[in-house]
Amino acid sequence: MGTISAAKLVEAIFIYGIPKVVELIGIWRKGGELTLDEAVALIAKFDKRAADYLVPPTPAG
């Protein structure tokens, strides 16, 4: 996990105010969290068996 130095945080609070900085930190943290849809989609990626790669050719035309 990345970090923000205390000096930068204080500077941001001076510039943007505490509520805005809290809001930005919330967005920053949420952006890095795994969603349920992403987790489910990854599980589904492991449903494909070796035989599924030997798909028949699509009919021409």
Binding site: E33, V40, K45, A51, P57
Partner: protein, 138 residues
């Protein structure tokens, strides 16, 4: 086989390490997801290559099988494909287990590399065998 396996293993390990460290704002759970997703994409690409190699010298029979029509052009035998299918199944189950574990993790989980170790090892085996197919061995 062992040198090739070592190289594939090193490359996959690098993928995992990069994925685990690259996205600084991601939670450990998210980074584990990204690493596993990268492995899945890599193996999927490898399997597509292996399938294309298997189809060389064969045509699709309406009965549902690929049959050999030009033995000289066959690059991957049925026995080799079956071997790959067995290894891939091991990888698939390890990957599914890892993906389920990641889903079950909380965003504050820390020990995520252990979840990926089995699937990483299995993916290494799959990719090493596909590399041998490409080199005309196995």
């Amino acid at each position: 086989m062992s040198i090739l396996k070592h190289r594939v293993n090193a490359a996959l390990a690098l993928v995992v390490v990069l994925s685990l460290t690259a996205c600084v704002s991601a939670t450990p759970q998210k980074r584990a997801h990204q690493a596993l997703d990268t492995i899945a994409t890599t193996v999927d690409g490898g399997m597509q290559v292996a399938a294309a190699l298997y189809k060389e010298g064969r045509v699709y029979d309406p009965a549902g099988k690929w049959v050999i029509v030009s033995p000289a052009d066959v690059l991957v035998t049925d026995a080799q494909w079956d071997k790959l299918a067995g290894i891939h199944e091991k990888y698939r189950l390890a990957g599914k287990a890892a993906a389920i574990s990641i889903k079950a993790l909380g965003p504050d989980a820390h020990d995520i590399s252990a979840i990926l170790s089995d699937v990483n090892a299995a993916a290494t085996e799959v990719l090493a065998l596909i590399e041998l197919f490409k080199k005309g061995g196995a």
